[in-house]
């Protein structure tokens, strides 16, 4: 209905496999970018930053990461929380050991370190498949959390066992530490989201992405036609962990400021991110955003309805949240395994075919 495709033809391969082949989508994309970069920073306040936007952006990165591993390469991981922890602690150690180096670099390095850890834990995936692997990744989850708990070197022997981010500046503005302005928090996260999303998109639409999907859809056939499973799986684990690591670093340094590994990066976190990609849509970058947005918004919305409107006790609402999330997961797996992204795709298809049904 909205789409006018006549005359929107492609004369080069570059144009043909661009991310948004339809003109309208291109426009939509640029509008979104403009709003995100040029409008929101000026209107954002602490509440919006801390309760919605910043967590959304950070989880989006994590979700993209996990989606690459699970959605694109078909390797389910329950260790996301653990890998986020790696990113966080790596970032913390770097920040404290090299105070003069720019925080941005620290965050990227943290991602790199996580990538290595991730690849290491990915090694078993060559032998183990399906949920065997899923359970195996629990090992990473529990082991890493325990590690950061027990080995006090990681939290610089602080009495509380917590790590807390010292203030660091980017271009003269604090992006970590207590005195960080909301818009700075937001912008740094937005920056990383943008970069990560672009990288993810490029990787997934290219050769590497195809080798991942081949492994996901039919690993044996994939290997026989020339996909190197070792390379495919390890790169998937590495890239995925890289993003997750960055998310962890931001989550700690920019968002929370101080974390205790057990509660910030526990197994619950792993599930949260997994749910994001299930609801958002496996194998879709857009889905990662949608899922993150949904699960960040849901509790806020529920709290608003339950506590502020209905005046229920908070714990009750929290319980409801569990029920709803659980139900949603099952619902999506039954009705629409490809999640919100697929719904979006279908809606778009309808609009393109309008007024025809098919």
């Amino acid at each position: 209905m909205l789409y006018r495709e006549a005359g929107d033809f492609k004369t080069t391969y570059v144009a043909d496999n661009q991310t948004f082949p339809l003109k309208l989508d291109r426009i939509g994309f640029w509008v979104t970018m403009a709003v995100a970069w040029l409008v929101i920073p000026f209107v954002i306040n602490d509440y919006w930053a801390s309760s919605l936007l910043v967590p959304f952006l950070i989880y989006a990165i994590a979700a993209i990461g996990l989606n690459i591993l699970t959605g694109y390469c078909g390797q389910v991981s329950l260790g996301t929380g653990g890998f986020m922890a790696v990113g966080a602690y790596a970032c913390y150690k770097l920040m404290t050991s090299f105070p003069d180096v720019n925080i941005m670099i620290h965050i990227v390095l943290a991602g790199g370190i996580t990538a290595m850890v991730g690849a290491a834990f990915g090694l078993p995936s060559l032998r183990i498949k399906g949920f065997y692997l899923a359970v195996a990744t629990l090992a990473a989850q529990f082991f890493l959390v325990w590690l950061f708990n027990k080995v006090s070197w990681f939290y610089n022997y602080s009495a509380s066992g917590q790590i807390s981010a010292p203030e660091r500046l980017v271009a003269g503005v604090a992006v970590t530490g207590p005195s960080t302005p909301a818009w700075a928090q937001y912008l740094i996260c937005l920056f990383f989201v943008t970069v990560c999303a672009i990288i993810a998109r490029n990787l997934t639409r290219g050769t590497l992405g195809r080798s991942w999907m081949a492994i996901r859809d039919m690993d044996i056939a994939a290997e026989i036609i020339g996909v190197n499973p070792l390379k495919a799986k390890l790169t998937a684990f590495a890239v995925s962990s890289f993003f997750v690591g960055i998310a962890g670093a931001l989550f700690f340094a920019v968002y929370l400021g101080a974390v205790e590994v057990g509660e910030a990066f526990g197994i619950q976190k792993s599930f949260l991110v997994l749910f994001m990609i299930i609801i958002g849509g496996l194998g879709s970058i857009f889905g990662s955003f949608a899922g993150a947005a949904f699960l960040v918004l849901l509790p806020v919305a529920l709290k608003w309805i339950g506590v502020d409107v209905m005046g229920w006790p908070t714990d009750l609402v929290a319980h409801f949240q569990l029920v709803i999330v659980g139900a949603l997961i099952m619902f999506f797996l039954i009705k629409e395994p490809h999640g919100l992204a697929q719904l979006w795709r279908l809606a778009k298809e309808k609009l393109r075919l309008w007024p025809f049904p098919h």
């Binding site: 209905m1 789409y3 006018r4 495709e5 006549a6 005359g7 929107d8 033809f9 492609k10 004369t11 080069t12 391969y13 144009a15 043909d16 075919l353 309008w354 007024p355 025809f356 049904p357 098919h358």
Partner: protein, 653 residues
């Protein structure tokens, strides 16, 4: 013959090409969907592709005046071939790609082609087979190399090889090429096109540069065609229309010609390109409409309601808006909404969002059909023309478009109506002659250059528009002397989506009867929805419910015909639905899907007798040709139905 001088020395297509290179060197001239994207060639690139080929042809020994056959689906390379052939002073002769070997043999023999440029292996094979009887062909050039490896290449060469040889020989031959190009005169032959004559063998119509260029110039100016237009070249290259649209006008106005990837991607490609200048015979528009209706059937109730509501509204408002007539505010607003909800999306799906000028011709087009597209806001117009006129005789100016006329005389065209009602014309586009056929030339074109169209028609005093009744030879008298215009009735019948073809008989008989061909897409779909099982076209065609539906249509037509006292006698008394589709391969139709009345009458005489002797079923056997050329027989017993005829009102004519 009008004696204008060529506009600023553009005496031939190659000259136009040269001009376009100067003015629009970097604008796209050709696009072809190949390997997944639209491969593009600018005018400059086109020019040296053409030149390379031309040099290659010289190298091959093509002489001035030689005939070079060009056969294949619409591809830039083949268009270049025609221009290249012209550049070396030879005459391109495009042939119908779906012609069977016999037809091709005849044409090759008739034009005495020394060279042939073929699109692919299929065409090459046909040429080789034809050569068993025709020995004129010295050399065959093929474009698509697929499957050609094993052929003996002594007399067969690939397009690219020829071009390479040409490029290699440039130093040696370019001088010769230039002299030949400069030698081209305004009255030299530009192209030779074979008319798919509705009767007898095809005739080679010789068109001069003057014909083509004058016509292209006039018609381009008539519709203000600019270098910005986009067209889709998908109609047979051998058809004069395609030659004028894709070469004449394209080179005159320097607009871009787009070639689809393959037959089955045609619609998708149309959608992608979104042409601004579009021609299609009524059959195609009808096909689209049928598709639209069928697909809307499955739509949700709301959508169906919305669709019908806005289409209704558009019928009243759309055409008025197109013709720039005043429209009330409320209607204007409603139309806006409709444009957003229905018209726009629909045009988009049909690939006609950008159509600025659309033409249809060749057959009368049903008013419903015509209005449907008009009311969508597509500027669809009718033109009346023929090969001998280099297409244009009359066409409809913007703002004066109606389904029942074919418009006013095109610029430079003079019309006159003979006493027997036949339409004559004279124009700069009037053809030179029928190749090696002086007598038919003489019988068609008198010394003053007036050409008989073979159509009966009259000019409306009020609007000055021409109206065509029928082929003059098909208009005849019935036994009681009243006028019999079968085509007129047939068209009325064919306006119903369920009816694909109709053939009406009644010349010098006491009453009219008809053969009907049902439209398999429409009827088949209807059968599906009413879960009526059928195994074959034949079975479906004889299904009682189908016959009832057809009967209803026939009655309706009789109803409307009875209004017109001139033709009231042409009401159909009895009809039957044919057990096979009329088919060009069986010689029942021309390649342009015009019915060959005589052939049919002769072939199915048993059925005709049955129609008149009052029997209500008839058993028959018919020979058919399958796609692969094999022949077979189909047997069937056909029901014959009686239609209700409205008693002729007593009038003195």
């Amino acid at each position: 013959m009008t004696d204008q001088n060529p506009p600023e020395g553009l005496v031939s297509v190659p000259h136009l090409l040269a001009r376009n290179v100067q003015l629009y060197g970097n604008k796209p001239a050709y696009r072809e969907k190949e390997f997944g994207i639209w491969q593009s060639w600018t005018w400059a690139e086109t020019a040296d592709e053409v030149e390379a080929l031309a040099l290659g042809l010289l190298d091959l020994g093509v002489n001035v005046g030689d005939h070079v056959a060009v056969i294949g689906r619409n591809r830039p390379a083949l268009y270049w071939s025609m221009v290249a052939v012209q550049s070396v002073g030879a005459v391109p002769v495009p042939l119908y790609q779906d012609a069977v070997v016999e037809e091709m043999t005849y044409v090759l023999e008739n034009c005495g082609a020394r060279f042939a440029i073929a699109g692919d292996q299929e065409q090459v094979d046909k040429i080789i087979e034809a050569q068993e009887t025709v020995h004129g062909i010295d050399h065959v050039i093929y474009y698509d190399t697929r499957g050609m490896r094993k052929y003996d290449h002594s007399e067969i060469t690939s397009f690219t090889d020829i071009q390479n040889e040409g490029r290699a020989a440039k130093a040696r031959l370019s001088k010769e090429l230039n002299t030949r190009r400069d030698a081209l005169g305004y009255d030299d032959t530009c192209v030779m096109l074979y008319t798919s004559g509705t009767t007898g063998r095809p005739k080679g119509v010789v068109l001069s540069n003057r014909n083509v260029i004058e016509t292209s110039k006039n018609s381009s100016e008539f519709d203000h065609l600019s270098a910005g237009e986009e067209t889709l070249a998908y109609l047979p290259m051998a058809w004069v229309g395609d030659f004028i649209f894709s070469i004449g006008q394209a080179y005159w106005s320097a607009f871009c010609v787009n070639c689809p990837e393959s037959a089955e991607t045609m619609n998708a490609d149309l959608r992608e390109i979104g042409p601004t200048y579009f021609f299609a015979p009524p059959a195609i528009f009808e096909g689209h409409l049928t598709q639209v209706m069928i697909r809307m059937e499955d739509a949700s109730r709301f959508k169906r309601w919305m669709f019908s509501y806005f289409m209704e509204h558009a019928k009243t408002v759309g055409p008025r808006l197109l013709d720039g007539k005043p429209v009330g505010f409320k209607d204007r607003m409603l139309h806006r909404i409709g444009k957003y909800m229905v018209y726009g999306p629909l045009k988009n799906r049909l690939g006609m969002s950008r159509v600025r000028v659309g033409y249809t011709a060749g057959e009368a087009i049903g008013p419903e059909l015509f209005d449907f597209y008009r009311s969508l806001g597509i500027n669809l117009k009718q033109l009346y023309g023929q090969t001998e006129a280099t297409v244009f005789i009359t066409q409809q100016p913007d703002g004066e478009v109606r389904s029942d006329t074919v418009g006013v005389p095109s610029p430079g065209v003079e019309l006159k109506i003979a006493d027997n009602g036949e339409v004559f014309y004279r124009s700069p586009g009037t053809f030179v002659e029928y190749y090696q056929n002086p007598e038919s030339t003489a019988s068609t074109k008198d010394p003053e250059g007036w050409v008989a169209t073979g159509d009966a028609g009259f000019i409306e005093e009020t609007s000055g528009h021409l109206r065509i009744i029928d082929r003059i030879k098909d208009v005849s008298k019935m036994a009681d002397g009243s006028m019999f215009a079968p085509k007129y009735i047939e068209n009325k019948l064919k306006f119903y989506p369920n009816i694909l073809e109709a053939v009406v008989f009644g010349a010098s008989r006491d009453r009219c009867t008809a053969f009907i061909n049902i439209d398999l897409t429409a009827v088949g779909n209807w059968a599906e929805r009413n879960n009526i099982a059928y195994s074959s076209y034949q079975e479906l065609s004889q299904h009682p419910q189908v016959l009832d539906t057809v009967l209803a249509h026939v009655n309706a037509v009789n109803e409307s015909v009875s209004q017109d006292e001139m033709l009231a006698a042409c009401q159909i008394h009895r009809f039957l639905v044919l057990h096979k589709e009329l088919d060009a391969d069986d010689g029942e139709m021309t390649r342009t899907r015009k019915v060959r009345r005589a052939v049919i009458a002769e072939k199915f005489n048993d059925l005709i007798d049955a129609l008149y002797d009052g029997s209500d079923t008839i058993y028959t056997e018919t020979e058919v040709t399958y796609e692969d050329g094999r022949k077979g027989k189909i047997k069937a017993t056909l029901d014959i139905r009686d239609a209700t005829v409205i008693a002729k009102t007593q009038v003195a004519a």
